[in-house]
């Protein structure tokens, strides 16, 4: 009774806040002007919900940290702005040797860290050894958890000469180049690490477009432009990342002009922001994706007709419209922004009658009992797991499938699904490496379907498919790889392995004085190209 009442009070309170917010936020329209040439100067204050944990780019555990540390360092290659296409950056060129197990990288000349020391092969070796070699003298100052997962195949890094580095891999691994584009592969100044290894994470030194001036924990991180930057010297003098944890307070700060841009936009603020003429709400394809994976080791999900029936039985569009606001309906197993995405597959439509017919064909005319396991609370790729699971439960009930829902804490949940104890798993991901490999290998290959330590939560096992994965891992040519991945998507489509639900878009809102601010698929921003209209 007490809880229900407080829930009602809270709902009422939220309704009043939103009403007032709309009243405050909607303002008179501004005037459109032709886009002038970039003007240097100014400060961009960027609002977000939480602070970075560390600014050491190599040790970044989350996107909040990477958003900042990615501006401090440069990686060897980078994503061409707005895409996932890899382009040379600190690396001038690369060569794949020894059947794909050795990558030889030539560095760009004349680049310096912001402490004045040169970016050379020794610095690259130092950077990577600090992460992967437990005996490296500076390894003990970091955790390196994500870096170790991203560079799992990396065995050794050696400076061949002053400007050439060799990366030695355990096995051929074509996505390695994409892995090098991660901010975890930003090259850091060995001199700066050696000077103060314990505190390097607070004021790291790289060769990037910005440098750290001040970090007031839980309040702001102040970055200043690197006037000596080797590529486009930033137009902005400063970028400040401010932490404003409360959603409505962050929206009000943007409306009032205390901040000029913000991320972490909740569904209700999204509508309010869109109505303000001084603000721009930009939505672009991201890489987070969610799906429902039946366990193929359990009956009746071993039958492809039953799996296809799931697709027809679940109204995916209604599901996404209601519980994945700021997202798009999934159009396949991988996010559309990813290289190798297959445009040509038309995934089964919502059609409960067809679902019933398929179930009848499979000898399950009277339906069956099963369960969905999912997260006990929202995650960025699956914002409303409980409500979404209940909606699926209702949809499936209409075709005679009775579903129990298990909401579990993330580690307990992972323990269960890795051990194949689940019937169906409603999950999502934020890809470790923004490459088709993350999905096509990690989530469907039989080598990742080992009970107890699986990432292939459908436990899909198909030797024909695995062989294609080997080919893709060895193909250094991106075009050939993309064509192999397309073939693999056709196999997954034919076998209706799982029901893909949503592609979560990246959303950023900013004041219309901010120019050229674009969210990249990985969620980062190239701030050196951003400028402010005066």
């Amino acid at each position: 009774m007490g809880r229900a009442t407080s829930g009602k009070v809270r709902a009422l309170a939220i309704a009043v806040v939103l009403g007032l917010l709309a009243w405050v936020v909607v303002a008179a329209p501004g005037q459109a002007a032709p886009t002038p040439a970039p003007q240097p100067g100014g400060t961009l204050i960027f609002g977000r919900a939480s602070d970075a944990v560390t600014l050491d780019p190599n040790d970044s555990p989350d996107t909040e940290s990477t958003l900042v540390s990615g501006l401090i360092g440069d990686s060897l290659v980078r994503f061409k702005p707005g895409t996932l296409e890899v382009q040379p950056w600190l690396a001038r060129s690369w060569q794949v040797l020894d059947n794909g197990t050795r990558w030889r990288i030539k560095l760009r000349d004349g680049v310096r860290f912001t402490d004045g020391t040169p970016v050379n092969a020794q610095a690259v070796e130092f950077t990577f050894k600090r992460m992967i070699d437990p005996n490296h003298p500076y390894n003990k100052y970091g955790k390196w958890n994500l870096a170790l997962a991203i560079y799992e195949q990396l065995r050794d890094v050696k400076a061949v000469d002053n400007m050439t580095v060799d990366f030695v891999l355990a096995e051929p691994f074509a996505p390695f180049l994409t892995a090098l584009a991660s901010p975890r592969g930003s090259i850091v100044s060995p001199t700066a690490v050696q000077k103060d290894p314990q505190n390097f994470f607070k004021a790291p030194v790289g060769s990037g477009p910005f440098k750290v001036v001040e970090w007031r924990k839980d309040d702001r991180i102040v970055l200043e432009r690197n006037d000596q930057y080797w590529e486009q010297v930033p137009y902005l003098e400063r970028v400040i990342f401010r932490v404003i944890p409360e959603n409505s307070a962050r929206v009000l700060a943007l409306v009032r002009g205390d901040i000029q841009a913000m991320i972490a936009i909740d569904p209700t603020s999204y509508e309010v922001l869109k109505r303000n003429a001084f603000l721009i709400v930009q939505q672009s394809p991201g890489l987070q994706h969610s799906y429902l994976a039946p366990n193929l080791l359990k009956k009746p999900f071993d039958d492809v007709r039953v799996r296809r029936a799931l697709y027809h039985a679940i109204n995916r569009k209604a599901l996404v419209d209601n519980f994945w606001i700021g997202a798009s309906l999934a159009r396949g197993v991988m996010p559309t922004a990813m290289l190798g995405f297959h445009e040509g597959l038309k995934w089964p439509e919502y059609d409960p009658e067809k679902a019933k017919a398929l179930l009848r064909e499979a000898g399950l005319a009277s339906g069956f009992k099963t369960s969905i396991s999912t997260f006990d609370r929202g995650r960025s790729h699956t914002p409303e797991p409980a409500k979404a699971a209940q909606t699926i439960q209702a949809d499936l009930a209409k075709v005679g499938i009775q579903v129990d829902i298990n909401l579990l804490e993330i580690n307990a949940l992972l323990g269960d699904v890795r051990a194949a104890r689940h019937d169906m798993y409603m999950a999502g991901f934020n890809p470790l490496i923004p490459d088709a490999w993350t999905i096509m290998f990690t989530q469907f290959d039989s080598r990742r379907a080992i009970i107890g330590r699986a990432n292939n939560f459908s436990f899909y096992r198909n030797p024909e498919y695995d062989a294609l994965n080997d080919q893709a891992n060895q193909a250094a040519n991106p075009r050939i790889r993309a064509s192999i991945y397309k073939k693999m998507q056709e196999i997954i489509y034919r076998d209706a392995v799982r029901v893909d639900i949503a592609d979560v878009d990246n959303v950023v809102a900013f004041r219309n004085v901010v120019q050229n601010l674009k969210n990249d698929p990985v969620g980062s921003f190239y701030m050196q190209y951003v400028w402010m209209k005066k």
Partner: protein
């Protein structure tokens, strides 16, 4: 009195030891393995094992507990699981912000609550009384985050009198001896800075003060009403004493005991309120840090903070006990 005070203080380490064991075990009973959480969803089993070893979470519980207590006695709170920073450094960076917020809020809340309670009891049954009771009911019932947003909308967005959240004046942090921005601004001879810092404090302090104000007002009112029925008050009035001296000298002092008790207890809700207030106003204090480290299963940080809270609460209660004797000479601690 002194003996009582010393005895109470002697209990303190025992209370803290109990609290330390409780929080140590509670944290480990929570679902969510910090090693798996830190290693990330993509980590292999080997990586999780490596993290567990790094954090010494693979050792038997009693070994972990004794090691932690040993470090604690040497003044070492340990290092954060998340970024390897000393927990003491993390806490020191945020403590001044919370103290600068919570102390004025408590003082303001108690002072305003006393005045309001006094008014309500004196003018019992009038509009004064009703007004105070409605206000105090609102102070208890209205959610902190909602009140915070309303104040922001009125004073920061519509009237633009006060800054919209944050703690620091435009020119940034000031490295002063106390860590309290207003005080440091005054000490540094920069009144404009101190003024700006104080303006940032206004809304968060009012928001946080509302709950203690409301409870103190209610308790003061009811306690005063009870005292005002007593024979000695009637005697005082019968002697011809004026109403105000009777109220202030005879009634209020005797009515204070439950009020002081409530102030001691309100340290708990104050900490809870600080979490919400800091979140609404983007105040970089300990309240928000507590939430972040609990969610992140940052054991050393959570343990240190809970112990700190236990120390605060226990000390406040000892002080409340001792203050009884000061307020009411009939109370003797023997």
């Amino acid at each position: 009195m002194l003996r009582y005070a010393l005895r109470q203080l002697a209990y303190l380490p025992m209370v803290l030891l109990g609290a330390s064991l409780l929080i140590f075990l509670l944290l480990r009973a929570l679902p969510g393995d910090p090693a798996a959480l830190l290693a990330g969803e993509w980590a292999t089993e080997e990586q999780v094992v490596r993290v567990r070893q790094q954090l010494h979470l693979d050792e038997p519980l009693y070994v972990q507990y004794v090691a932690w207590l040993g470090d604690l006695l040497r003044g070492n709170l340990g290092r954060s699981f998340r970024n390897g920073e000393l927990v003491s450094t993390e806490v020191a960076a945020r403590l001044p912000a919370t103290v600068e917020l919570a102390v004025p809020a408590l003082v303001l809340g108690v002072a305003a609550g006393l005045v309001l309670g006094l008014l309500a009891a004196t003018f019992r049954g009038t509009w004064w009384d009703n007004g105070v009771m409605v206000l105090s009911l609102a102070g208890i019932a209205v959610p902190v985050f909602w009140m915070g947003l309303m104040l922001i909308m009125l004073f920061s967005v519509k009237l633009t009198w006060l800054p919209l959240g944050g703690r620091f004046p435009a020119e940034g942090a000031l490295t002063g001896p106390t860590g309290f921005l207003v005080l440091d601004g005054i000490l540094a001879g920069r009144p404009a800075y101190a003024w700006d810092a104080a303006r940032h404090l206004v809304l968060p302090v009012i928001t946080l003060a509302l709950f203690p104000m409301a409870t103190v007002a209610r308790v003061t009112r009811s306690s005063l009403l009870e005292v005002l029925q007593q024979d000695y008050i009637r005697t005082a009035r019968a002697k011809g004493l004026a109403r105000v001296p009777v109220l202030m000298r005879h009634a209020l002092r005797n009515a204070l005991i439950p009020v002081v008790t409530i102030v001691g207890i309100s340290i708990g809700p104050l900490v809870g309120g600080a979490v919400l207030t800091e979140t609404v106003y983007g105040w970089p204090g300990l309240g928000r840090y507590v939430v972040a480290v609990v969610i992140g299963r940052d054991f050393p940080a959570v343990q240190a903070l809970v112990l700190f809270a236990a120390l605060l609460f226990a000390t406040a209660n000892v002080l409340v006990d001792l203050s009884y004797a000061l307020i009411d000479p009939r109370i003797r601690f023997e």
